[in-house]
């Protein structure tokens, strides 16, 4: 009978999703802001 430690598994999968999706979203927001900011200033 395997040990009952599913809680640790769930925690690791949730933490990984939060870190990776959170980083991807924040990176995309920074990149979009930089690209759009540059275009707006260039047009001005």
């Amino acid at each position: 009978m395997p040990p009952d430690n599913a809680g640790y598994m769930v925690a690791a999968y949730v933490v990984t999703a939060v870190i990776l999706v959170g980083y991807a979203v924040s990176l995309l927001a920074r990149a979009r802001s930089a690209v759009t900011g540059n275009s707006v200033k260039r047009e001005a």
């Binding site: 640790y8 690791a12 999968y13 991807a24 990149a31 690209v35």
Partner: protein
């Protein structure tokens, strides 16, 4: 291609790759949690391995490429190499956070402790802090040429640590498991578990490429802004 058009193109293609990789990662979750057997001795916590190991491989790949592109920058003086190094370092740190959080979450039920100061864990933590320092150094230096040269040297020092980390389980007495795939003999893992691990590694690699592409586009846009400020 240069300027905002190029930066936008990198951000767009990086976004497409990243979205694809995150969807594939959801598939890995389903595969690992629903269709890969539970290991008899370690129980469900063993499945953390399908995220921890690919995150560790991706982080070490990212840090190695920072060192290699830094070395090439010092030789060729090509700014694209410096931009790539900066992008790879930041994404490597993100994967490093995954590696350093999932590792202790696995260790607690299996070893009975969250952390131990053995060679593999300590060297990995040191490498992680070295690249956090690398990013801080880049943020502190404003001259692009100076920033690129100084950070290339730090990146090269980080690259020197990577083989020691891989070999640390052979060189020192350590609690950390020995390599089960990246070793001279055949992988010591049942086929279903090996399949899930390799698919997850490919998905993490795709995510690395997507995130680095976005970060490269961001670096291009920031350089353009710096040049405009200098000209003003």
């Amino acid at each position: 291609m240069s300027g905002p058009t190029s930066a936008r193109a990198f951000v767009r293609s990086g976004t497409a790759l990243t979205v694809l990789a995150l969807l594939a990662l959801a598939g890995v979750y389903v595969l690992a949690l629903g269709f890969t057997p539970i290991e008899a001795r370690q129980g469900p916590a063993q499945k953390i391995f399908y995220l921890h190991v690919p995150a560790a491989w991706s982080a070490l790949l990212a840090f190695s490429l920072v060192g290699l592109s830094g070395g090439l920058y010092l030789w060729l003086n090509d700014r694209r190499l410096d931009r790539f190094a900066a992008a790879s370092a930041e994404v490597g740190v993100a994967f490093g956070v995954v590696m350093l959080t999932t590792g202790p979450i696995w260790a607690k039920p299996i070893w009975g402790t969250w952390w131990t100061w053995d060679a593999r864990l300590t060297l990995t933590l040191f490498l992680f802090f070295l690249f956090v320092g690398y990013l801080a150094l880049r943020a502190a230096l404003h001259d692009p040429s100076e920033r690129a040269r100084f950070s290339a040297v730090v990146g090269l020092l980080g690259l020197l640590l990577v083989p020691f980390i891989h070999l640390s389980v052979y060189l020192f007495r350590t609690l950390h498991p020995q390599p089960i795939v990246l070793k001279p003999s055949a992988p010591s893992l049942p086929p279903e578990m090996l399949r899930t691990l390799l698919i997850s590694a490919l998905v993490f690699l795709l995510l690395y490429v997507g995130l680095v592409t976005i970060r490269y586009g961001l670096a291009l846009a920031e350089e353009e802004r710096e040049e405009r400020l200098d000209a003003a």
